[in-house]
């Protein structure tokens, strides 16, 4: 299996489109950081305007932690697209390239092929989030330095001590890998159904956008559906910045997202094992 995964990773990183995600992150994050350098203090002053009438603030609230926290909010739309770009091509790309028959005729079971591709997709997801973390926190620390983290939660202002923030980010990024893993799994499932990578990419993004719109509109029918949509749990990484952390919510979200990954992977495996390779 290790050899199979290595081969699949080699195939992934041999394609130029794989680097789109890394390039986008490498360009977009510094742009956001420069914008925050110029306008971030105004944003913080706006957030704390009520407090600053009565209190004097001293210290560096515009720091790498605050900016990285804002950047993590981009998990909703931007990162899923970059994930789907690669995950959607894992199986469909073989059909497009006409390499399905060569692949299937090897003395390797379909189960091993699907599993190796799936694991390679997860590895790519992990590497992209790791890259996001390095650019956000690493470059952010060089530009802004570190300090206390200011954020809103449940109608309250929470300020976390400087030495109490990094481990929360590690958990948040870990959770981000899991939630983007669901996106990768969904794109992988669509990839098993079609023979062109564009379809899975667009379908995955369409699902995410529709689910998010349904979650956002304040109608009781939609609100009753909301707990069943995986996009409802993608934002649970914010819980790691509450004080105290709502462990029950985190565990529930982790289990639900893991369940989605298992279901999507199992469905893709089922489809591929029964697939009639004609191209």
């Amino acid at each position: 299996m290790f050899n199979l995964v290595s081969i699949e990773l080699y195939k992934i990183f041999k394609k130029w489109r794989t680097y789109i995600g890394f390039i986008v992150v490498a360009v977009l994050i510094p742009v956001i950081q420069i914008a925050m350098l110029m306008e971030g203090q105004r944003s913080i002053n706006f957030m704390t305007r009520n407090l600053q009438q009565s209190f004097l603030f001293v210290g560096n609230l515009l720091n790498s932690y605050f900016v990285s926290y804002l950047i993590l909010n981009s998990l909703a739309i931007h990162i899923p697209f970059l994930i789907a770009l690669v995950a959607g091509d894992l199986l469909a790309g073989e059909a497009t390239g006409g390499t399905y028959r060569i692949l299937i005729t090897r003395p390797v079971s379909r189960f091993s092929i699907v599993t190796a591709k799936f694991i390679a997709g997860m590895v790519y997801t992990f590497l992209l989030i790791l890259w996001l973390a390095i650019i956000s926190l690493g470059l952010g620390t060089i530009i802004f330095g570190t300090g206390e983290l200011l954020n809103y939660s449940n109608g309250s202002i929470i300020i976390l001590a400087q030495n109490d923030v990094l481990w929360r980010f590690l958990l948040a990024y870990g959770f981000a890998v899991l939630s983007m893993g669901v996106v990768a799994s969904l794109a992988f499932l669509f990839s098993s159904l079609v023979e062109n990578a564009i379809g899975p990419i667009i379908s995955t993004m369409a699902i995410i956008i529709i689910f998010m719109i349904v979650s956002a509109i304040n109608i009781s029918l939609f609100q009753s559906i909301r707990p069943y949509l995986f996009t409802n749990y993608i934002d649970t990484w914010r819980s790691f910045f509450d004080n105290p952390i709502d462990v029950h919510t985190v565990i529930k979200s982790v289990l639900i997202l893991l369940a989605h990954i298992v279901v999507f992977y199992s469905a893709a495996l089922f489809v591929f094992k029964r697939k009639d390779i004609l191209t």
Binding site: L56, V58, I159
Partner: protein, 229 residues
């Protein structure tokens, strides 16, 4: 004899009783504080409020007559603006009218209650009530109502065994700024979901403990030129 006794009592009352003239009380406060030319002090700050969770903070506060203040902190600190400068000069600045109300007991200490009404329109404070410990010429409690920031109460404690100057060893700053909204994430988007949280009543207390006063050792003006938020 009948005339002498009341005269003696009046003289004794004048000499040994507490002043009830607010101008005299204020003058004594200012004179006592005028001995403090400058000071620096370490402050430990704890916030206990319904709308904010913040860790315990440490800061160093500098003061220089007549009204220069500066705060230094290695990390983040938030300090009540009204708790920074408790010199009588800052409390009794501008034109005001004052009147004596009554005597009151705070922590077994007899205090004189006076009310201060600023006469200028551009000030933030509408009315202040002060509990003055005339035996030590310090303020024990301040209660102020402001135009836009609700009411606040400052309780000041002193430890004259450590510090002979009228500088507090700790203060408790209680505030109530009425109802305000802290924007939830999707508040500004019409029709967006998420619980619309009602405006919160912003109340809370800030406990500041002062230690290591360094008084009248000279503080250069450039210390006060560094910018705070």
């Amino acid at each position: 004899m009948k005339k002498i006794v009341p005269i003696i009592l009046i003289i004794a009352g004048t000499c040994f009783g507490q002043a009830t003239n607010p101008d005299v009380i204020i003058k004594n406060l200012k004179e006592a504080f005028s001995k403090v030319k400058d000071y620096s002090v370490d402050a430990d700050i704890k916030v206990d409020a319904s709308f904010i969770k913040v860790p315990e903070m440490k800061a160093k506060i500098f003061y220089k007559q007549p009204d220069k203040t500066h705060i230094q902190s290695t990390g983040f600190a938030m300090i009540p603006r009204k708790g920074l400068d408790f010199s009588p000069a800052s409390i009794f600045k501008g034109k005001y009218t004052s009147f004596y109300v009554k005597e009151d007991i705070i922590d077994n200490i007899k205090t004189s209650v006076i009310k201060i009404i600023p006469l200028e329109d551009n000030g933030e404070v509408i009315l202040s009530t002060l509990w003055v410990d005339q035996s030590n010429n310090v303020i024990r409690k301040i209660e102020s109502s402001t135009k836009t920031n609700g009411t606040f109460v400052i309780n000041l404690s002193y430890d004259f065994s450590l510090n002979k100057y009228p500088l507090p060893s700790s203060i408790t700053f209680s505030f109530d700024v009425g109802r305000m909204n802290f924007a939830p994430r999707n508040e500004d988007s019409p029709g967006m979901a998420g619980e619309k949280k009602p405006a919160k009543n912003i109340t809370g207390k800030v406990f500041i403990t002062y230690s290591n006063y360094i008084v009248n050792k000279g503080i250069p003006d450039k210390v006060f030129e560094e910018k705070e938020k």
